[in-house]
Subunit: 227 residues, 2 copies
């Protein structure tokens, strides 16, 4: 079967991390061309799936492996890349930046975390792709416990609170948020404490994934409503 | 820039309609090869966007135009098509079958509606794509009023009820469903009646899209919870 089609297919990853009380995004600096900052990503190889392509590109260009990865949206405007027609399958990924030392390689000259509210100029339509990724993250943390993928295994409650406030970009009623989250029974108190700011040491919590899976199977829906 | 990549990109449409108390899906019979039933779709042209490609293919192969269209998911397994590597960007579309006479052309030998709970054998991974489409539809009718795209402009309330029951594949508490839907204030009573089954003529309703948009802008969320 002969198909004349001059379109290439790539993957790009919108990787969010939580660090220094900021929601950050992982960007690479292009080694060639305009040397702009861009999302990690690249062309799909003939023998790999889309998921395999994005995992490989992330590893090659930045040295990280995502805790959480889902397909976001496929961007197919005709003028995305001035050199040739490229359709990009974008992914949303979450990692804990504390677990990795960034290591740029292959097409990337550098790899760095940037505050999502203070981004450099970006290549292609990557600003739009990030906007779609952030919208998905904002929507999703309200009905799936994916926020925990961004935190340390053990965290003070204030980290979780601040994570939600930063992603949603608004103040939350702290008392209600705490009450709601604890009522689910998926947060486990540990016997460890951590000094946070100038206050007294705060108790550390753990997300009980096993408990969550059990509850989910019995029809439980993780759902946080913010008025 | 020279990229060696042997992958072609296609679009496929999961088109749902509601007819004869069934949720139906629009399929075409392939003109060439195995002459199997398949989703309407085809290869993306170099100068068209993905949305344009799916709209064109739907028109060419079946003669319909979707009331509602959204990108569903991109399927990129390496062995989807035994002839060559094809990545497919799948779309979810909703139409009212009563508004169209199907008309197969180009690559399609025939175009027909099938009950989603009684499908023929399908080409490629189209069965999986339909399953993903149905999941999306099931989830989405609970928080967006897209079900109305499947109904006539004026409909008896029992149609709406049956639509939800058929998509969700379960019995609903009719009294609660009616109370909930009417409480939103987005359903408008008309002064027309229609005979439904053996009962007395039923009042016809209209979906007030303008009212919905207004409410939505003021923070209203369409949300139906089924216990």
């Amino acid at each position: 079967m002969k198909i004349t089609q001059n379109i290439k297919i790539a993957v790009d990853a919108v990787v969010f991390g939580y660090h220094n009380n900021q929601i950050q995004i992982l960007l690479i600096q292009q080694k060639f061309g305009k040397k702009q900052w861009a999302l990690p990503g690249g062309f799909v190889l003939d023998k790999e799936t889309l998921d395999e392509a994005v995992i490989r590109e992330l590893k090659e260009e930045t040295g990280v492996k995502a805790n959480y990865l889902e397909q976001l949206y496929t961007f197919g405007a005709t003028q995305r890349d001035e050199r040739l027609r490229v359709i990009s399958v974008a992914y949303l990924a979450l990692i804990n930046p504390n677990n990795y030392i960034l290591k740029a390689d292959t097409d990337a000259k550098d790899a760095q975390w940037f505050d999502i509210y203070d981004l450099p100029e970006l290549a292609f339509d990557h600003k739009d792709i990030i906007a779609v990724g952030l919208e998905r993250l904002k929507a999703k943390i309200n009905y799936q416990p994916i926020g925990f993928e961004l935190l340390n295994t053990k965290f003070p409650f204030s980290d979780l609170e601040n994570l939600y406030q930063t992603i949603l970009n608004k103040k939350l009623d702290r008392r209600n948020f705490r009450k709601k989250l604890l009522s689910f029974g998926i947060l486990q108190e540990t016997d460890q404490y951590q000094k946070v700011g100038s206050g007294r040491p705060a108790k550390l919590f753990k997300f009980n994934k096993k408990k969550y899976k059990e509850l989910e199977q019995n029809g439980f829906h993780f759902e946080i409503k913010f008025a």
